[in-house]
């Protein structure tokens, strides 16, 4: 229900009208926020450096000092302040951590099999003495999907290179476990230890993120630990520092050099708003990945299996939450709870002569990166409530229908089939509705669908509400549950229910006069 004549619709591009600049600004902000690719996806493009960086593999080490790295004993200095002391002999925590962690830090590159040019660059680190390396899934996604056409290569800080094998990945949390083909060059470097789960870090603590941003050189980025992201479906940590492209997969360490999280994403529309994957999913991945065989065939089946598990969990949690009230005087319109979604609203300008509307957009932050052109595994809910009392019935009907038709449901493309729709007029809880359910099947992910549920109220001659729920990457059973759940959310408000039919009055016997 994208009403192009009176609103700027994010999905349809920006349309100017004669309304004020303020309205335009709100739309721009919303377009960036609501339609912005999620944190993970922004990172997907941002944190994997572009292919044409033009730097050779050897340049990665050219910014490093030539000093030999001796593994240092953990310093007793618990000063976590970012300001290092003026004493040149004492080194600050950032320098110490870097010196100690340097041998275990790597750059992970995806190269085309036939050429030496890199198609994707990220960071990684040694997590185990046996040579296991951790990075993000989105750094190696091209390899996972076409192992025959790509190869993985690591580069250490001191310029050592070698081939890598992919053992396992967790696409939901964006982690991947790798192992070098030849373990010898990386032997004896030690490993980054994980901070124990029973030692929680407090908000505001200094943490240090390492990686190779934009293939410029290995770097340390300091920032504050800001705890888990609120209203996120997947556990993510909020890092108050700058993560650039290329730092994906690098470690984020506390002041003792223990792993807090893995760099994964950043919000480009903010400053120093970055995200880390916590250590729990990493532990789980290590458990099952240690003994796994290297992946040599396209991993679509495994990707599908993991996405199915995620969507089952997402649907179960989503359907369990009751709908919130939208506050409409006439209709009960389902709006999701803000437990793992974020909602934005706006309305038509006050003095508009035409159709008045109020719009609400609810989106999830957590989106699963599958490839550069595919983000899936999330739900969005939006609605528009129209008031056409300033227009007549005919004019309102024309705009109402136009708005219902102005919904983009997709076309046949490389990733998904064209949408097929089922439509019906339903009158479940008394409120007559037009319901349309459109589905698209993923071509590579067998059994996963994109479903769009469009609903419009049909009882009002001069007003109505249209809602839309989109679920990306769900199974058929989940699609059916979500459809039922969404349709059940529409009803009349209590004081507007159509009057129940009155019972016929019982005839009173007329007294017979004597």
């Amino acid at each position: 229900m994208c009403f192009t004549r009176h609103a700027s619709c994010a999905s349809r591009g920006f349309e100017t009208n004669s309304v004020s600049v303020f309205f335009v600004l709100i739309c721009t902000v919303l377009a960036l926020a609501a339609a912005a690719v999620a944190p993970r996806a922004v990172a997907a493009e941002a944190l994997s450096a572009p292919a044409d960086s033009g730097k050779s593999a050897a340049s990665a080490g050219q910014f490093e000092p030539a000093a030999a790295t001796a593994p240092a004993v953990p310093s007793a200095n618990t000063n976590t302040s970012a300001n290092t002391s003026a004493n040149t002999a004492a080194t600050g925590p950032g320098q110490r951590i870097y010196e100690r962690t340097r041998p275990r830090l790597l750059q992970v590159r995806t190269l085309l099999k036939t050429q030496d040019s890199q198609s994707s660059v990220g960071s990684g680190f040694l997590v185990d003495e046996a040579g296991y390396i951790v990075t993000n899934y989105h750094v190696i996604s091209q390899f996972a999907q076409a192992p025959g056409r790509n190869r993985l290569v690591y580069v250490t800080v001191d310029g050592q290179q070698g081939a890598l094998q992919l053992l396992a990945f967790d696409i939901v949390h964006d982690l991947a476990l790798l192992k070098p083909l030849d373990a010898a060059p990386l032997a004896g470097r030690g490993a980054i230890s994980l901070r124990p789960a029973d030692e929680p870090l407090s908000r505001g603590a200094r943490i240090y993120s390492l990686g190779n941003p934009l293939d410029v050189g290995f770097a340390v980025a300091e920032g504050s630990y800001n705890g888990p992201v609120e209203r996120s479906f997947l556990d993510t940590l909020f890092f108050g520092g700058s993560l650039s492209a290329g730092m994906s997969g690098g470690p984020a360490l506390d002041d003792q050099g223990r792993l807090i999280g893995v760099n994964v994403a950043a919000r480009r529309d903010g400053e120093q708003v970055s995200f880390l994957v916590p250590t729990n999913p990493l532990r789980a991945l290590l458990e099952r990945g240690r003994s796994a065989k290297p992946i040599t065939a396209p991993a679509w089946a495994e990707i599908t299996r993991q996405l199915m598990a995620h969507e089952a969990d997402l649907t179960a949690r989503f359907v369990k939450l009751p709908w919130r009230a939208a506050g409409h005087p006439r209709y009960v319109i389902p709006v999701p709870q803000e437990q793992f979604m974020r909602c934005w609203g706006r309305g038509s300008p006050q003095n508009s002569r035409g159709l008045q509307f109020e719009r609400s957009d609810c989106e999830m932050d957590s989106r699963i990166f599958v490839s550069g052109s595919l983000l899936t595994g999330f739900i969005t809910v939006r609605h528009e409530a129209y008031d056409g009392s300033k227009l007549g019935a005919l004019r309102f009907a024309e705009r109402y229908s136009a708005s219902f038709g102005n919904e983009f449901t997709g076309r046949d493309d490389r990733l998904r089939t064209a949408p097929q729709c089922l439509e019906q007029q339903v009158g479940g809880t008394g409120l007559p509705l037009k319901a349309v359910v459109c589905m698209r099947a993923y071509k590579r992910l067998e059994g996963l669908l994109d479903v769009s549920i469009l609903v419009a109220t049909l009882d009002g001659a001069q007003g109505g509400a249209q809602g839309r729920l989109d679920a990306f990457g769900v199974s058929l059973a989940s699609a059916q549950r979500l459809s039922q759940h969404y349709l059940d959310g529409f009803a009349w408000t209590a004081n507007n229910k159509s009057p129940a039919p009155k019972p016929l009055p019982t005839p009173t016997p007329t007294p017979v006069s004597r």
Partner: protein, 333 residues
């Protein structure tokens, strides 16, 4: 020319009885003679192009050659006459005992007829096109009105006031020009009278048919809207084209029908390519007016359960796409 004596020589040289000044005719091209039994005989003399023969054609016949006589050949011509093609020249032979075809009535579309038939025309038929035109303008105005916000000033009406007359005039003007080309008569009013009812029908269909389909909750009817509009447009074009080429009604009908079918075919093929279905809109987007809601209301269960076969269909399509891609991948690797 009148034939006064037999034999008759035909050719380009000046000593022939019938001199034809045509470079594709030989000096002495053919000889027409009457036989002992009274039958007419045509002999072709020394000629490269020969003589083309069409038999028994009336006025306006297509003159397709029934036979062709080369140099040295002869043939007996029928008593009903013949059409002879010598080079670029067509000669028609008429014999005294030819049976005449009856007089043909002029069709009303031919120019010059309206002068004779003015007395027969009722005032009502003169009024009819005006009424249609007014109805069309009124309908377009109403459609335009529904698109405007209340309190729109006069300038919002200008597009309509300009576009409707200009479109009609330009459309009928182009067809009148074609009439001028083929019939030597710039018949603007004739085309206008033909075009207005169909245009009104198009406008009415575009506005009312989707509403009807929505009121009856019949998506199939709704998806047919472009087809119906195309049919009406084809009828309009056929009517106007027949007016331009009055003698070729059948050909025109067949031609327009073929073009319409072609257009349907192309659009359906395109829809299959991008939307995997016959129509370009996956669902009926027109919503019924509350007062006109006549369609049946189903339960949510039916809708939700209907998703299962839909998903199966989609799975098949996805599988087909996957198999196609895998073949490509294998070829690439």
């Amino acid at each position: 020319m009148d034939v006064l004596a037999w034999p008759l020589t035909v050719g380009r040289a000046l000593d022939n009885h019938l001199v034809i000044d045509d470079p594709f005719v030989a000096a002495h091209h053919a000889l027409l003679d009457i036989g002992a039994d009274g039958s007419l005989q045509l002999s072709v003399l020394d000629s490269v192009n020969g003589v083309g023969l069409g038999l028994g054609m009336g006025l306006g016949g297509s003159g397709a050659a029934v036979a062709h006589l080369a140099a040295g050949q002869s043939r007996v011509l029928p008593a009903s006459g013949a059409v002879l093609q010598l080079g670029n020249t067509r000669l028609r032979l008429r014999l005294p005992d030819e049976v005449l075809a009856p007089e043909r009535a002029l069709s009303s579309a031919l120019p010059g007829f309206h002068v004779a038939a003015t007395q027969r025309r009722h005032t009502r038929s003169q009024l009819w096109p005006w009424l249609t035109g007014l109805a069309l303008v009124a309908f377009e105005a109403a459609s335009h009105w529904t698109g405007l916000d209340p309190g729109a000033d006069f300038s919002a009406w200008l597009p309509l006031l300009i576009s409707v007359p200009v479109t009609v005039v330009v459309w009928c003007g182009v067809w009148a020009l074609l009439s001028k080309l083929f019939n030597h008569h710039f018949d603007f009013s004739g085309h206008l009278k033909l075009a207005l009812p169909w245009m009104l029908a198009l406008a009415l269909t575009q506005a009312l048919w989707p509403q009807l389909a929505a009121a009856l909750a019949a998506p199939v009817l709704w998806q047919l809207t472009p087809l119906i509009m195309l049919t009406l447009a084809a009828c309009l074009i056929r009517a106007q084209l027949s007016h331009v080429l009055p003698g070729k009604r059948q050909t025109v009908a067949v031609g327009v029908a073929a073009m319409a079918l072609g257009a349907v075919g192309v659009s359906v093929a395109n829809n299959f390519r991008t939307h995997d279905s016959l129509s370009s809109s996956p669902y009926m987007s027109t919503l019924p007016l509350p007062a006109l809601r006549l369609g049946s209301t189903g339960g949510e269960q039916k809708l939700v359960q209907g998703l299962t076969p839909l998903a199966a269909q989609l799975a098949l399509r996805a599988k087909k796409a996957r198999d196609g891609e895998e073949d490509g991948d294998d070829a690439a690797d």
